[in-house]
């Protein structure tokens, strides 16, 4: 939070969540989560299945009652002002809930009706949305006959019908093939450039990296970390990762003399990941050590680090408690 205080004075807070808790019976799905989303940014909730992303999202748009804590959207309390707030947001839910019997066009028009948009204006808006989503040719097709990617694009388009100031996307690309995913990302980037504030949940680290300015890493209803993707990578794992096909018992000997070249390490399946800021130097040193000790390196790969590594480091186990071996992740 502290890294935002500099801009919070200037930028509008669109979402402010304080000590947000969600319980289902005795089970606490969200355990006191606080964050703010500022105007114009794309904010990510990143976490594995069951982390509590959907639970948080449903509280933001007032679907699910808040157990305790506070949720303000556009500066107003969601539980008191849901109707007014919902006119200003667009929601792309995790599960498609289009009207399957209706045509693409009718889906948009019917949905526009829920916002009491005048018919003329709704037509104009629906036309623009179809254009943006490249679905114009499909206007008369029944939703049942669309591909998964097209349905997702229509769901996104539908969420834009009221020109929302805040767009909420709950795992917008889960289940799509890579091509459809990239197509959707392009659209989201365009919306972001146009200044739409976005809150996006995902369990794809690549997606968070591609789209989010800032993000929370969530696990089991708790915040593990918060920051920009680049900062998180820099802080937790350094710039590069050296992947080695060795057992964890060989790490010590192979990294002998590496000193602070190795920022951290992690066992992933049959590989060991060494996190570093100076990849080439470390790679050379490891190769030298291996040769000296006549250890065969079956696999050695140097690559830029990414959020996935951060995630692994934050949620995965450390080297010491991996006696079970490969299932460490």
């Amino acid at each position: 939070m502290s890294d935002n205080t500099g801009i919070s004075g200037k930028k509008n807070k669109i979402i402010e969540s304080r000590d947000l808790v969600k319980k289902f019976g005795d089970f606490e799905a969200v355990k006191g989560v606080s964050f703010s989303v500022f105007q114009g940014e794309c904010f990510g909730l990143l976490g594995p299945n069951g982390a509590g992303k959907t639970s948080i999202v449903k509280m933001i748009y007032g679907f699910s009652p808040i157990t305790s804590g506070e949720m303000q959207v556009f500066g107003e309390d969601i539980s008191a002002r849901a109707r007014a707030i919902k006119t200003r947001i667009g929601v792309v839910p995790q599960e498609d809930n289009l009207d399957p019997e209706l045509s693409v066009w009718d889906n948009l028009m019917v949905y526009a009706g829920y916002f009491r948009i005048k018919r003329e204006q709704a037509r104009e808006r629906a036309g623009q949305v179809l254009d943006l989503m490249e679905l114009t040719e499909k206007a008369d097709t029944a939703v049942n006959d669309l591909s998964g990617g097209m349905k997702r694009r229509l769901t996104l388009g539908r969420a834009l019908i009221n020109e929302p100031e805040l767009l909420i996307l709950d795992e917008p690309t889960t289940g799509l093939d890579p091509y459809a995913r990239h197509l959707l990302w392009q659209r989201l980037r365009r919306l972001k450039e146009a200044g739409t504030t976005m809150l996006l949940t995902t369990h794809y680290l690549e997606e968070a990296e591609q789209l989010c300015d800032r993000l929370l890493i969530l696990d089991r209803g708790e915040i593990l970390e918060e920051g920009s993707p680049a900062d998180l990578v820099e802080i937790h794992v350094g710039r590069e990762v050296l992947e080695l096909g060795i057992g964890y018992e060989e790490i010590a000997s192979l990294t002998e003399g590496a000193g602070d070249l190795v920022k951290d390490y992690h066992v992933l399946g049959d590989n060991v990941l060494l996190f570093t800021n100076r990849g080439q130097a470390l790679s050379d040193l490891v190769a030298g050590n291996a040769e000296k000790m006549s250890i065969t390196l079956f696999y050695r790969r140097l690559r830029p680090s990414n959020l996935e590594d951060v995630f692994l480091k934050l949620t995965g186990k450390t080297l010491e408690d991996i006696p079970q071996g490969p299932e460490g992740y």
């Binding site: 679907f63 007014a84 006119t87 809930n97 009207d99 829920y114 009491r116």
Partner: protein, 268 residues
């Protein structure tokens, strides 16, 4: 017990209703209906017409007059009520459940300015509309068979409205506790079919064994039949007002229930 309390939470509060948005919810269902009615209409009509034909013309030949009426004259007004009831019941059980659980239509609408109360009120009105529509069309059929005897029959939509409203409410209450589609089988077998057989459509309820003669009085269908038959035959008495009052009171007392129960099921 805890589960019942959870389902009924908020029953004493006022619903959050915006009537224009209730209209949009209705319109959404109506729009789908316009796409599919041709395929479904047979399903809803064949059965009552078959009853009219088989019971009225077939069985009726062997039945001496009931209350001074030929059997088909006695039967037809009751079938107007039951065809409306069945149409509402199919729509508000299987189809509402599909919208709620599989198409997630209620969720989609609740993410817009539409409130959950708007959604459910729109559903109730749609179920009522559909029952009234099918009831009215069956009324036309009885008219074409020459079985409508009085211009008072023009008031038939009034009891049809109350009847189908009652059943929209009852069905949605059932939806709120239904774990799956099979559950609706019980609804039809345990409630709807016995009601159909024992509510004075096929024979006067006075013919029931004394011990269970009160049962029809507890059902909306019986009261609707007791209003529709006098209207169609032109034999209206003051008793009609009692039956209307019963139906109106039922609606007034139960309307809040499906709104809270379905909402409490969906919103957790």
């Amino acid at each position: 017990m805890a589960r019942t309390a959870q389902l009924l939470k908020g029953v004493a509060t006022l619903p959050d209703i915006s009537w224009p948005l209730v209209g949009r919810v209705f319109y959404r269902n109506f729009k789908v209906f316009m796409k599919t009615w041709k395929a479904n209409i047979m399903f809803n009509f064949v059965e009552p017409v078959l009853y009219l034909w088989a019971m009225g013309f077939g069985l009726g030949v062997y039945v001496s007059k009931i209350n001074g009426l030929s059997y088909i004259e006695f039967l037809a007004p009751g079938l107007i009520a039951s065809s409306a009831m069945f149409s509402t019941c199919y729509e508000m059980t299987y189809d509402s459940f599909t919208r709620m659980n599989y198409h997630k239509t209620f969720h989609a609408m609740a993410a817009t300015p539409v409130s959950m109360d708007d959604v459910l009120m729109g559903e109730i009105i749609y179920g009522t509309f559909k029952g009234m529509l099918y009831g009215t069309v069956f009324f036309m059929i009885t008219f074409l068979f020459g079985l409508v005897k009085s211009p008072l029959a023009l008031f038939v939509p009034v009891p049809l409205f109350l009847l189908t409203l009652c059943f929209s409410i009852l069905c949605l209450i059932w939806v709120s506790i239904a774990p799956n589609y099979d559950f609706f089988g019980y609804f039809f077998t345990l409630f709807v079919s016995p009601m159909f057989l024992l509510s004075g459509i096929f024979f006067p309820v006075e013919n029931l064994p004394a011990g269970i003669r009160f049962l029809p009085w507890l059902t909306p269908l019986y009261h609707a039949v007791e209003i529709i038959r006098p209207l169609v035959l032109g034999q209206v008495t003051g008793a009609v007002l009692v039956h209307l009052g019963w139906l109106a009171a039922f609606v007034a007392l139960t309307l809040r229930l499906p709104l809270v129960m379905v909402k409490n099921r969906l919103v957790q």
